[in-house]
Symmetry: C2
């Protein structure tokens, strides 16, 4: 499995993805699941993928036009005029790839399935995030649903529900994401470090901060360890339930 | 779905189960999923069920011998000599019920599936907990795996992993369970209040504290609210990840 979050804040967007890919416990590896495109002054687009690795890699290759010679490549993702159009393109590409592998056309339940989070900003529009389904359709983030998760979403959801605030700084959001990822890693073997991070500042139209957070990262270690301790302290603050 | 936890402490056992049953969002109700038997001075046994309600209710009825006239009932669960034998009986009964409904014998993946947590103590043995699979086989709790969950297990697992300690008092364990259940309820519509609680003190061989915790319970409300606040405070204690 996989764990990816796309989060919208008042200041911009934050994306985080793990990098573990596995087909059974004796066949696992590290694989990038976050891909970004940017044209300074015009757009920044980030895609994160979950699901069948053959499907998602093929989709990314098609979006980057890797079927063409290097000098002929001109990815349409860099020419669509709105994020909505980008989401349509990604949805159509995803549906096409799944359909090619599946026996009887596209079938969301089959083993070739995948889902995608796509976010960013194109000049003239606002920063936004879409969740694209294997069927090729998609939903857009709203103020009521300010984040999307794909993959192993359940372990890390409670902390997002409790602590997310659109006014958060990027640093606070990153702390929140690390806690959510750390909770997932501690509970599920199919999600693993390192994590890929992408921060996009609203209306900057440039790539922003992009970083890989390794297992031995001292701040990640401190947050992981500190969160366990902080939880225990938090317990002490709760009222006792007399039996 | 459902959410149930069986937890072993040095002092004894704690069980908690939600009570929401649903077959789609427009068909939900409250249904008991925790059942206890006790013979003072001899044994205390608690069963919690998750999965198809027809299957689990039928299994409980068979265990209680409801197919017989009231005066002829003599549930074998009250006569097995060890908890291991009780787990075998429950596993065999569960497998039998699933097999009756399924087209081609028992199939864990079909819609008649269910799983069961069974715990307690019988004179001569130690307090223990088993997790029974739809196939009728089962695993026993160990020091390395000090709790079992069934149903919607993922949302509430991270806090159990972090904060469980076998030396906890029953009050602390109850606080931990309420936080784990509250995290699940906040993230998943198929788990709902009220919660059923059963506490068993090791070597007491009596029923112990049994209680239903309603949504408007002031301590539950305080823990639910307090946990959100405590989490936010805990965030402040974590080191910042400088970008």
């Amino acid at each position: 499995m996989t764990y990816c979050i796309g989060l919208r804040l008042d200041h911009g967007l934050v994306f985080m993805a793990d990098t573990r890919t596995s087909a059974g416990v004796d066949n696992f590896a590290t694989s990038k699941k976050m891909f970004s495109w940017h044209v300074p002054g015009d757009r920044m687009i980030t895609i994160m993928t979950a699901g069948n690795l053959a499907t998602t890699q093929s989709m990314i290759s098609l979006l980057e036009e890797r079927s063409k010679a290097v000098e002929e490549r001109n990815p349409s993702i860099l020419h669509e005029t709105t994020m909505f159009q980008v989401a349509r393109l990604v949805g159509a590409t995803l549906k096409e790839v799944i359909g090619e592998s599946a026996d009887q056309g596209q079938n969301a339940k089959d083993q070739f399935s995948a889902s995608v989070i796509i976010g960013g900003q194109i000049k003239g529009g606002k920063p936004t995030i879409f969740l694209v389904y294997p069927q090729g359709n998609f939903i857009e983030i709203t103020d009521d649903t300010p984040f999307f998760q794909i993959g192993e979403t359940k372990y890390g959801k409670p902390i997002l529900v409790r602590a997310y605030d659109p006014k958060m700084s990027f640093e606070e959001a990153l702390k929140l994401l690390l806690v959510s990822f750390d909770s997932t890693v501690k509970s599920n073997l199919s999600v693993g470090l390192p994590f890929d991070l992408q921060v996009y500042e609203a209306d900057s139209f440039k790539q922003g901060i992009s970083r890989r957070i390794e297992e031995n990262d001292p701040i990640y270690q401190a947050i992981s360890q500190g969160w366990g301790d902080a939880l225990k302290n938090a317990f002490q603050l709760l009222p006792a339930y007399k039996l």
